[in-house]
Each structure stands twice: as C-alpha cells, then as structure tokens.
C-alpha cells in the first residue's frame, strides 16, 4: 500500500499523532485522555508507518534493530525491546502500588500535590497516579507492538 499519497500523508501525520498521544497522556487526569488511550494512539502511529513503509523499515531504519524476518521471534531484538517495554510497564504499575504499601497505605493508594508559582504553567499538579498511568502506557504500547510485529512478520 505504498503509494505517494499514503507516504506523504504518513510523513505529515505521524508526528502529529505522537504529539497528540503525548498530550492525551499528560492531560489525562483532568481532560479526556490517559495512559491507555495514549498508548493505543502511539501504537497507531507505528502501525501507520508499518503499513506505508513495511515492517523492515520500521524496525531496521527507524528503531535501529536488525530484523530477522521469518526467524524466531524471541531472538528478534525489536520484539525483545517491546517485551522489555511491557514488562517495565507492568513493573512500574505494580511498583507504584507497592510504594503506597511501603508507606503504610493500602495497595495502589494514590495521592497528589499541587505546586504553585511554576514559571510558564503558573500551577502544576503532580499526581502519583501519573506513575501508574505511565506503567499502563508502556504496557499498552509494548503489548500492541509485540502483537503487531509478530503477526505482521508472518
């Protein structure tokens, strides 16, 4: 499906998607968005690249991995990276819950602080839920890309 139109569109759209995904992730606590949707949107950007330029381009040129198509997916460095990503995400999510336990609260208790007089932003809120959300984000991105890479290379 590599036509001029799709290639041009992809080149323009992918950065936008990534930025939107990032903003969705960050604003999640107060506006529509969050880790899950941000993760899925990030995966969409990768899918778009994959469809337009192919898996080899995505994995070799863009992510700097040596893709061995047709080989053992467990040996594939890119799949390995995705796998590490979702394992890290799961660990982060569980870890954020365990931290609460270590401080004497029930598992997965969350809290937040609001900083005032921050330059540019004036007021910024830092919620511990953000760490949990980041974990979810990593799980979604890692999991979806693993599926995509393995199924796509078939």
């Amino acid at each position: 499906m590599s036509t001029v139109i799709t290639r041009t569109t992809t080149r323009a759209v992918v950065p936008l998607i990534v930025v939107v995904a990032a903003s969705l992730f960050v604003q999640g606590h107060n506006l529509p968005g969050g880790g899950f949707i941000g993760g899925v949107l990030t995966a969409v950007a990768f899918v778009l690249i994959y469809i337009t330029y192919g898996l080899d381009f995505l994995e070799r040129a863009l992510l700097g991995s040596v893709a061995e198509t047709g080989g053992d997916p467990f040996q594939d460095r890119i799949v390995d990276a995705y796998r590490r990503l979702f394992v890290f995400g799961l660990a982060l999510a569980v870890g954020s819950g365990l931290t609460a336990m270590a401080l004497g609260f029930p598992f997965l208790s969350q809290s937040y602080v609001i900083y005032h007089d921050v330059p540019l932003y004036h007021e910024i809120e830092l919620a511990s839920a953000l760490a949990f959300d980041l974990g979810i984000y990593c799980v979604v991105v890692g999991g979806l890309l693993t599926i995509l890479s393995v199924v796509g290379s078939e």
Partner: protein
C-alpha cells in the same frame, strides 16, 4: 487444668510440616534416603509442641479474611489433641520406617514433601475450629493422599487407585462443603450474624439444632455429613477406594489407614456429635457404621493379600467407630474415642509388619506365607500383641473399646426396640469375622514354613523399632487401660459430648449381655477358624459371581461412561476449525448470561424512545443501516469497512451522550482494528464462496442470540438512572484524586486494581501470541 491454649504454639505445630516441605529437596541432596529422619524430627517437634498444650481447652484464632468473617481458628481440647498427637506421634514412626523402607530415587523428594504436607493437613483438620479452614485442610488431605497413593506413577494400578481415592474423597468433600454452608446459614438465626466458628455452634448446640429443624435443613445436613465423612472414612457403599489405596507404599498405608486420613471422617463425626446428636443421628450413623463393620469384615476374610486384609479390616474398624459415635450414650462416646486410639496403635503396627513381610519375604500373598516366627521372632511377638488386640481378645487393647460398643449397641437395641435389635446382632456378627481374619493374620507366623518361601532376612532396626514402639503402647493399654483412659481418653470423651452412663474399662468378672456378645464373637470366631479356607473361597466366589453388587463395579461403569461421553463430545466441540470454537464459546457465554439474568429475576427497564434526540436517532440509524448492509456486502473489504462505519457511529454516539473519553478510545481502537483487519484481508480470497443453507441458518441464529444478549445486558446495566456510586465518584474525584476527568480518576485512583488487571491481560495476550508463534515454528502444535 483449664488454661487456654497458646496460639503461637498451636500455629507452629500446624505450619511446621508445611514449612519443612520447602527443605525437602535440599535435605534429599544432603541426606539421601535418610531424609526420613528429618521428617521424623519435624513430626517429633509437632508432637512436642502439641504435648505442651496438654490439658488446655479453648479456641484461639488469627484473622484471615476479616471482611468475610473467615479466621484461622484453632480449637484445642481433649478430642482434637488426641487426634493430633496420634497423627504426629505415628508420623514420627512412619518417617523413621520410611527411611529404612524406601529405595533412593528422584521421587523420594515428592514422597517426603507430600507426606509432610499430609501430616500438616491432618493436624490442621484436628485443630481447625473454622468451617473454611476445616474444609481447606480436609481437602488438602485428599490431595496429598492422591500424590502418595500414586507414588509408583509408572504403575497403572497405582494411578487407578490414586485417581479413585481422589474422586471419592474429594467428591465426598463437596457434600461436606454443602453441609458446612447449611450450618453457616442456620447459624444466622442463632447469632446476630452468620458465623463460621464451629466452636460457637457447638456451644449453642440446642439453638443450632432448633434453627436447622426450623429451616428443614437438619436431615439434609445429617445426610450430607454422612456422605462427606463416609467417603473419607470408607463407609459402605463408598468403602471400595480404601482397599485399592493399598497400592501406596506400605509406610503410607500405615499412616493413611491407621492414624490419619481415613480417620478424619470419624474424627469429624466426633467433633459435630454434640451439635447434631438426635434420634435420626443414631439411626443413620449406627446403621451405616454397623453395616460397614459387617460387610468389610466379611470381605476381609476373602482377601488374599496381606495389605488387602488389613485394608478391609480398617474399613471395618472405622465402621465400628462411626457406629459408636452414632450412639448418644457415654458408652458410645467412650467406644469411639478409645477405639480410635486402640485402632491407631494396632493397625499402624500391623501395616508396618506387613511391610516387613513384603520387604523380607518378597511376597504379600497370605497363602504363600507361614511359619515366619522362626525367621522373624520379634516381628512375631509384635504381631501377636497387635493382632490379638485387633481381634478384641481380653487383656489386649482392642477388647476394651469393643466391649464398650457392645454395651452401647445393646442399650440402643433395648431403648429403641424393634429393628434396633439388629444393632447388637450386627456388632456381634462382625466381631466373629474380625476374630477370624485376625487369627488368619497371626497364622502366617505359626505352623510350618512353605517350601516355596525363600530365605527370610531379619529386618533392619529402622523397620523394627517403629512397630515395636506401637506394640508396646498397645500392650500397655491392654494390661493397664486405666492409664491411657485417664490421660487422653476421658478428656476426649468430654469433648465429644458424653451422655448418660458411666463406662468402665476393666475385664468384666460378672455376666452381662456384653459379656455374652464377646463370648459369642470369640467362641464363634475360634470355632469357625478350622473352616477358614472354605469361607475364604466361598465369599470370594460369591463376590465374583455378582459383580454388579460391588461398588467398585459401579465406579468403573460410571467412569467409563464419563470417558466415553468426553471422547464423543470433544470432536464436536473442538474440531480444529476456528469458527466452531467461536460458535461454541459465544453460544455458551450467551446462554449462561441469559440464564443468569433469568435466575436473578431481573426485569427489563422501559425504553423511553421519545426522550432520544433526533441527532442520536440519526446516528444510530446510520449504524443499524451499516450493520444490515454488512451482511449483504459482496466482499470482505466491504464488510469490514461497513462494520467500521458502525464503530465510528458508536463513537459519535458516545460524544453526543457526553462521554468524550469513551469516544476517543472507540475512535482510536476502531482505527487500529480496521487497519489490522485490512492487513489480514490481503491473505483472504476477495469474494465470498457460497454457503450451505443449514450453516447460514445456524450462523444467523447465533448472531441474533449474541445481539440479543448484548442488547439485554446493556439495557440491564444502564437502565438505572439514579446511582449513588456515580454521585460519589463525581464528588470525590477532585478532593481525593486531584483530577477533573472523572473517568480517568476512577481508572487510576479509585479502581486502579481493575486497571492493573486489564493491563496484565494485554501482557498475557502479547506473551500468548509470542508463545503460539514460537511453538508453531518448532512444530509443537498443528
């Protein structure tokens, strides 16, 4: 003497065996076959810990699931202690014996692990005072015994026996579970809220009985307890697994048959006896027990294998104990508790003797054995003491408890009259056969040694000391019963709820009905002994002639039928076609969901069509149109695109229904799904092939069913207009979670555990796909 028990000590005694399981692999590397001595050490430690609680009475507990009222409660009293001390005490001997008996091998790690777990579960059952904990330990004993009976896992007989023991005892456990739940429910009427504490129920036994009767649950509870305890304690007609269980290594048999698992049912009956004792109780359990006692004693005479004889005899003695607890007099309670002690002492010793015979003579066939006393003099002495105890000969330990059951049975006959006179008759008849097979067992040691029997070695000390210790215990009880009675039996009788009457524990010097029954039993047994071989053959032929009269035959039939049904249904459900799997899965899910709604008697809320805005109607109309056209589309691509239209319309609907989060997710996921579909479609034929009419009808019915289920589900779950929960989340989102987006605050703050679970699902899906692709490349899956 009424000091309360010490929680750390009791807890340590129960937990120690389980903790020691973790040490077994290391111990086996360091010690080899001598790992048995480690187990013996653990058992001795448990014994010592429990012994420090001697004289204490009371309930101690540890919170477990406080929100459900489940606690790890332990009840320490004479009855629980007697049983726990027996299990750990005989555990010491069995572990010691195992060290000398078993050959080194990889499976020893599993053996010792399971045996330790087995002992721990028995201690748990003996002391548990919480229904949940009791049931948990109860089933753990079944699981551990499954592993132990199937120790020779390359032997089909072993596997058959292990599976049978598992089916019967775990299956029976489920009946017990229902009984426990009924008790729990009835306790709600007695206490302010339902309790799981068995101690509390027993302390309010009269009120509990009244509540059970009022709810009509008394008889069901009795019957369920009878099935549960009967399956565990091998009562007719569920007795057949016990003789099969002799496939286990001999030390396990000694432990399983004499001291522990099979007595758990009896133990439980003793435990709930004060709670459920009544006329129905007597009729039910005295009948079951005495019938079992007689039937299995007769079958024991037909046995050809040493261990088979002992196994049937075990079932017979368990019947005696069950019947004893059935009688509500003090004689019944005394017979049950005292015989539990006596039987453990002589039967464990006899099993260990059987192990010595098998080990040193190389055969277990009774007819091939004889004159063993010349080669095995000490073993012969042990056997004499214990086998005469088993027969109930005066001045041997079994005599006293058997005398008590005679008195209890005679009294019950006199009190209830009529058919109840069968109780003393059955008890006497069974005892005649008991004397018969006990003498036959002893006869292996006397007379001439058959020529075919080769050289018989002396057993090593580790095999000889454990049965010798048990014989000394049995012998001491026989000579001076008042010591054991005063020390452990009387506190136990108090705990199982004695009743009227004052039992005595001496060899009688005056005539009484019980003395007459004893005389008939011993005299009859001795008189019939010369024609033992004819009886043995006659019973054997009778059993062989009528296979359908045997419970084992029914078990095999039932299992075969299940096997066949499984073999026939699998190709229909799993035929390798993905669409068949989806069909069954989706159909079953819908059926279950609709059944669930029907069972919960939910009613559909009214739909207010007028309140829907024209915009939403338009969007939904487009969605329905897209869905309808998707079914008539000429190719896969059209179908997928039309379905996407449906998905995007839903997203717009979410926006209109002020759920921007959902809409966003729906849009992105829909896009992703569309793309993945398009990727897959490249591999499929472009156009549909013709479908058979029957297939089309089936698919239409299925899809309509799925649609209807989803429709009903949505209506039921969203029908509520007012929800306190929604208000709570909206109000608390900012102060508690610090976020203005309620949905996200719920996801990350209030219901973070759910979100965590969902992300774990994504991880599992990714790993599953990786594994699937990997195994296919290796040719491990079709």
């Amino acid at each position: 003497m009424t000091a309360g028990p010490d929680l750390p000590v009791v807890l340590a005694a129960v937990v120690l065996p389980f903790a020691a399981v973790a040490l077994v692999p290391t111990a086996y590397r360091l010690l080899g076959t001598r790992t048995g001595y480690l187990g013996a050490g653990v058992a001795a430690a448990c014994f010592a810990l429990l012994a420090t609680q001697y004289g204490a009475t009371g309930t101690v507990g540890l919170e477990w699931v406080p929100s459900l009222g489940i606690a790890l409660r332990f009840r320490v009293d004479g009855w629980g202690l007697l049983f726990a001390l027996l299990a750990s005490g005989i555990g010491v001997l069995v572990f010691t014996y195992s060290a000398g008996y078993l050959h080194p091998g990889r499976t020893l790690v599993r053996y010792y692990g399971a045996l330790l777990g087995f002992m721990g579960s028995i201690l748990g059952v003996a002391l548990a005072a919480d229904l949940v904990a009791l049931f948990l330990f109860w089933e753990l004993t079944s699981v551990c015994s499954f592993v132990l009976i199937g120790y020779h896992d390359d032997d089909p007989d072993s596997r058959y026996a292990a599976r049978m023991a598992m089916f019967v005892t775990v299956g029976g456990g489920l009946f017990l579970l229902v009984a426990l739940l009924l008790l729990w429910q009835a306790s709600g009427a007695v206490f302010s809220s339902p309790t799981l504490s068995l101690t509390a129920m027993i302390e309010n036994a009269d009120a509990m009985r009244a509540a059970l009767r009022e709810q009509g649950a008394f008889l069901p509870v009795l019957l369920l307890v009878a099935v549960g305890a009967g399956s565990k304690s091998a009562q007719v007609p569920l007795h057949f697994w016990l003789p099969n269980a002799m496939a286990a290594p001999t030390p396990v048999s000694a432990f399983l048959h004499s001291a522990t698992m099979v007595k758990v049912g009896v133990y439980f009956l003793g435990r709930v006896r004060p709670l459920l004792a009544s006329t129905e109780w007597t009729l039910l359990f005295a009948t079951i027990g005495l019938v079992t006692m007689t039937v299995t004693a007769v079958l024991a005479v037909a046995a050809t294998d040493v261990k088979e004889l002992l196994a049937y005899s075990t079932a017979s003695h368990l019947g005696l104990m069950v019947a004893a607890f059935g009688f509500t007099t003090a004689y019944g309670a005394a017979a049950g508790t005292f015989h539990l002690l006596n039987h453990a002492a002589f039967k464990a010793a006899l099993f260990l003797v059987a192990g010595i015979i098998a080990h040193e003579a190389g055969t277990r066939r009774i007819n091939d054995l004889g004159g063993l006393w010349r080669d095995l003099p000490v073993t012969a002495a042990i056997t004499a003491i214990t086998a005469l105890g088993m027969a109930g000969i005066p001045f041997f330990n079994g005599f006293y408890s058997k005398e008590l059951i005679f008195v209890a049975a005679y009294d019950a006959g006199q009190e209830l009259g009529g058919l109840a006179w069968a109780f003393p008759v059955l008890a006497t008849l069974a005892s005649v056969f008991t004397v018969l097979y006990s003498l036959r067992f002893l006869a292996m040691f006397v007379g001439d040694k058959p020529a075919a029997l080769g050289e018989v070695h002396r057993p090593p000390l580790s095999l000889l000391v454990p049965p010798a210790v048990l014989a000394v215990v049995a012998g001491t009880i026989g000579v001076a019963p008042e010591i054991a009675v005063g020390a452990v039996v009387e506190p136990a009788i108090a705990a199982v709820g004695g009743g009227p009457g004052d039992p005595h524990y001496v060899v009688p010097t005056e005539f009484s009905p019980a003395v007459a029954m004893t005389a008939v039993a011993i005299g009859g047994g001795a008189a019939a002994y010369p024609s033992y071989d004819r009886l043995h053959r006659g019973i054997g032929n009778a059993v062989a002639a009528a296979p359908s009269a045997r419970a084992n035959w029914w078990y095999d039939r039932a299992l075969d039928a299940v096997d066949r049904a499984g073999a026939e249904s699998v190709p229909r459900v799993q035929n390798g076609l993905l669409r068949t799997y989806v069909g069954w899965f989706v159909g079953a899910a819908c059926g279950l969901a609709l059944l669930g709604y029907a069972a919960a008697e939910l009613s559909l809320p009214a739909i207010d069509l007028l309140g829907v805005s024209p915009t939403i109607l338009l969007v939904l109309l487009v969605a329905v149109l897209a869905a309808a056209t998707a079914t008539t589309g000429p190719s896969h691509v059209t179908g997928v695109l039309l379905l996407s239209v449906l998905g995007f319309m839903l997203a717009i609907f979410y926006i209109l229904a002020s759920a921007p989060d959902l809409a966003l997710t729906q849009l992105v996921v829909e896009t992703l799904t569309l793309v993945i579909f398009l990727l897959v479609i490249e591999e499929l034929p472009a156009y549909y092939s013709d479908v058979e009419e029957s297939v089309a009808v089936r698919d239409v019915a299925l899809s309509v069913g799925v649609g209807a289920t989803v429709f009903v589900t949505v209506l039921l779950t969203t029908g509520r207009t007012e929800s306190a929960l929604a208000g709570y989340f909206t109000e608390q989102a900012i102060p508690e979670g610090g976020g203005h987006n309620v949905v996200n605050v719920i996801l990350t703050d209030f219901r973070a555990f759910d979100t965590l679970g969902e992300s774990a699902v994504i991880v599992i899906a990714a790993i599953a796909i990786l594994t699937l692709v990997l195994t296919r490349d290796r040719g491990e899956s079709p």
